[in-house]
C-alpha cells in the first residue's frame, strides 16, 4: 500500500505492486545493500592516514598496476577479436558456424577454477601451448602474461555478444547506399558500419574490462602470485583476510568497489547512448 501511494506514477489495474516491490527491496537490501555498506562502514575504523597508507603501500600499488594494465590489455584484445568473431558469425556462412556460435559462451558457463587449472596446464612449459611459446622466449604460466591470458579468456564473450545483435539488425540499405556513392568496402566499414557499432563495442569493452578487474578464480592458478610481480588486487584482499587484517582487506576492497561503481555508471551511460542511437 505504501509503495503504490507514494511511488506509483499512474494507477494500474494490475495487482501485486506493493508485494512485488516490497519483496524486491527487502531481498535486495538483505543480500546486497546492507552487506555492501558494511564494507564501507568498516573502513571508518581506520583513520584517513591509515587508510591511505594501506591502499598506497608499494605491494598494493604494484597489484593495481598489474590488475589494471592486464585488464585493459585483455579488454582491448577482446574488443578487436570480439568484433572480428561477431562479424564472421553474422556475415559469413561456414562449416561449424552454429557450433562456434554456441562455444563463444563457454567462458560464461565454465567455472573459473576449471578455466584456471586448464589454462595453467596448457601454458605451462610442458603444456600443449606453452611448449611452443617457451622456446620463443615467451613464458606465460606463472608470469604477468598468464594474468592477461586468463583475463582474455573470461572476457571473451562480452564484445561478441554486445556487437552481434546490432550487426544482425543493421539495415543492408546503409551499406548499399555507401557503395553506390562510391565508397570502397573499407571506407564503408570505417565510416558507416563502425560508427553504428561503436556504442555496443564500447559497452562490451567496458563489461570485459570490469569483469577482468574483479576476476579471481581463473587467475590465481596461472599467475604464480609473486608479490610485486604477478599478484592481483583481489588476491591481496584474501591475503589480508587470512592474516586477520580485516581493516586492511576492507580498505583495498573499498578502492576496488569505487572503481567498479564508476565503471558501472559508465556502462549504464554507454547503454543509454546505444539505445538512443538505435532509436528505441
Amino acid at each position: 500500500m505504501i509503495f503504490s501511494k507514494t511511488l506509483l506514477r499512474r494507477p494500474s489495474v494490475l495487482p501485486g505492486f506493493d508485494l512485488a516491490l516490497g519483496l524486491t527491496l527487502l531481498y535486495l537490501s538483505l543480500i546486497v545493500l546492507v552487506p555492501l555498506s558494511a564494507a564501507f562502514l568498516r573502513t571508518t575504523s581506520l583513520t584517513w592516514p591509515a587508510f591511505v597508507d594501506v591502499v598506497t603501500s608499494p605491494r598494493v600499488v604494484a597489484s593495481y598496476k598489474l590488475t589494471f594494465g592486464a585488464s585493459l590489455l585483455a579488454a582491448t584484445v577482446n574488443a578487436v577479436f570480439g568484433l572480428l568473431v561477431a562479424w564472421v558469425l553474422v556475415r559469413y556462412e561456414f562449416f561449424g558456424r552454429r557450433f562456434v556460435d554456441a562455444l563463444v559462451d563457454l567462458p560464461f558457463a565454465l567455472p573459473t577454477a576449471v578455466a584456471g587449472i586448464t589454462l595453467t596446464g596448457l601454458y605451462a612449459s610442458n603444456g600443449w601451448i606453452g611448449q611452443y611459446l617457451e622456446p620463443m622466449g615467451l613464458k606465460v604460466a606463472f608470469t604477468p602474461v598468464g594474468v592477461f591470458v586468463a583475463m582474455t579468456f573470461i572476457g571473451l564473450p562480452f564484445v561478441v555478444r554486445t556487437v552481434q545483435p546490432i550487426l544482425e539488425d543493421m539495415a543492408p540499405e546503409l551499406e548499399e547506399a555507401s557503395a553506390t556513392l562510391g565508397a570502397s568496402r573499407w571506407q564503408t566499414f570505417i565510416r558507416v558500419i563502425l560508427p553504428i557499432l561503436a556504442p555496443a563495442l564500447l559497452t562490451g569493452y567496458a563489461l570485459a574490462f570490469a569483469r577482468a578487474l574483479g576476476e579471481y578464480g581463473s587467475i590465481i592458478f596461472i599467475a604464480g602470485n609473486m608479490p610485486m610481480v604477478s599478484e592481483i588486487t583481489p588476491l591481496l584482499i584474501i591475503t589480508k583476510l587470512e592474516q586477520y587484517d580485516y581493516a586492511g582487506a576492507t580498505a583495498i576492497a573499498v578502492v576496488m568497489l569505487v572503481m567498479s561503481f564508476i565503471l558501472l555508471l559508465a556502462i549504464n551511460g554507454l547503454q543509454a547512448w546505444a539505445r538512443k542511437r538505435q532509436g528505441k
Binding site: 489495474v13 535486495l28 563457454l106 576449471v114 586448464t118 584474501i238
Partner: protein
C-alpha cells in the same frame, strides 16, 4: 544481353573472397586457441591416467561431499533468486514508478562487484570480528566457514541472473494482456499464472540455466567464506583447487571435468532456449509496433 547485366552487384557490399577466408581463419584460430583447446584438454587431462583413476577421483568421499554441498548451494540459491527475479520483473516491467532506473542499476550491482569482495562483505558481518560475530559465537551458530556462508555468497553472485533476463522481455511485452485478463474477471493470481507466465517461460528458464551454472561454479566468493574444511565446507570448485595444490593433477582435472560437462550441458540448453526467448521478444516487439 549478358553485357547489359549490371556488374557484380553483391560485390559492392561484400568483401572479396580472400578477405572473407582470412577473417574466418583468424577468428577460428583465435577461438580454437582460447576456447576449443582448453575444453578438450580438460577431458584429456582427466582421463590421462585411465578410467580407474578418474572414477576413483570422483567417487572418493571428499569429492562426493563436495558434490553434495555444491548441489545444496544451488538448490537454495536458484529458487530464491528465481522468486526475487519474478517479483523484481513484475514491479519494474508492469508498473511505472519513481526510482525505477536506480532500482535497475542496484539489481545489476552484484555483477560489477568482484567475487572476492562478495565473500568479504559477509565475513565483515558474520565473521568472528564482524558485526554479529560475537553474538553468533555465543549462540553457537556458524555462518562463516560453514554452509550458510557458502549459500549466502552463492546467492549474492547469482543474484541478478533471472531478473536480468525477465525484465527486458516483460517490458517489451507491456501490460495490455494482463489488463485485458483483469477486465475479463481474472484474479491477480490467475492473470499471472495464465497470462504472464506462459509469455515469459523461456526467458525464465534461460535465467535459471545461467543462474544455476554460476551457482555451481562459483569460486572466488565461496572461497573467502568457506574455510576449506575437507568433507564439510568444500564445494566442487574448491575441491579442484585443493587437489591441484596437492599436485594431484589427474584427480583435479577429473573433478574439473564434471563441472566442464555441466558447462557443456549449460551451453546446449542455452543455445536451444535462447532462440525461444528471441522469438518471444520478436513477437512482443511486433505486437508493440501494431498497437
Amino acid at each position: 544481353m549478358s553485357s547489359l547485366s549490371p556488374p557484380n552487384v553483391t560485390g559492392a557490399t561484400k568483401e572479396p573472397i580472400w578477405v572473407r577466408w582470412l577473417l574466418i581463419s583468424v577468428a577460428l584460430v583465435f577461438l580454437s586457441l582460447f576456447l576449443f583447446v582448453p575444453l578438450v584438454s580438460v577431458f584429456f587431462e582427466a582421463f590421462k591416467k585411465g578410467v580407474d583413476v578418474y572414477l576413483a577421483a570422483i567417487t572418493e568421499s571428499d569429492a562426493v561431499s563436495a558434490i553434495k554441498l555444491t548441489l545444496i548451494a544451488a538448490v537454495i540459491a536458484v529458487p530464491l533468486n528465481l522468486v526475487f527475479g519474478v517479483a523484481a520483473a513484475w514491479s519494474i516491467a508492469k508498473f511505472d514508478f519513481r526510482g525505477k532506473s536506480v532500482l535497475l542499476t542496484l539489481i545489476d550491482l552484484p555483477f560489477s562487484v568482484s567475487p572476492v569482495i562478495a565473500g568479504l562483505i559477509y565475513v565483515l558481518i558474520f565473521g568472528l570480528q564482524g558485526w554479529w560475530g560475537e553474538w553468533l559465537r555465543d549462540n553457537d551458530l556458524k555462518v562463516i566457514f560453514a554452509v550458510p556462508g557458502i549459500v549466502l555468497a552463492t546467492i549474492f553472485v547469482t543474484f541478478p541472473f533471472v531478473a536480468r533476463e525477465l525484465i527486458p522481455l516483460m517490458q517489451a511485452q507491456g501490460q495490455e494482456q494482463e489488463e485485458a485478463a483483469r477486465v475479463l474477471g481474472a484474479s491477480g493470481f490467475q492473470t499471472f499464472w495464465k497470462v504472464t507466465l506462459p509469455n515469459v517461460k523461456w526467458a525464465l528458464l534461460y535465467g535459471v540455466i545461467l543462474c544455476n551454472a554460476r551457482a555451481m561454479g562459483e569460486f572466488g566468493a565461496v572461497s573467502v567464506v568457506s574455510g576449506h574444511i575437507r568433507g564439510q565446507t568444500n564445494t566442487l570448485p574448491l575441491h579442484i583447487e585443493i587437489l591441484y595444490n596437492e599436485y594431484q593433477f589427474a584427480a583435479s582435472f577429473a573433478v574439473a571435468s564434471l563441472l566442464a560437462s555441466l558447462a557443456l550441458v549449460t551451453l546446449v540448453l542455452k543455445y536451444i532456449v535462447e532462440r525461444r526467448v528471441r522469438q518471444q521478444l520478436a513477437i512482443a516487439n511486433d505486437v508493440g509496433v501494431v498497437s
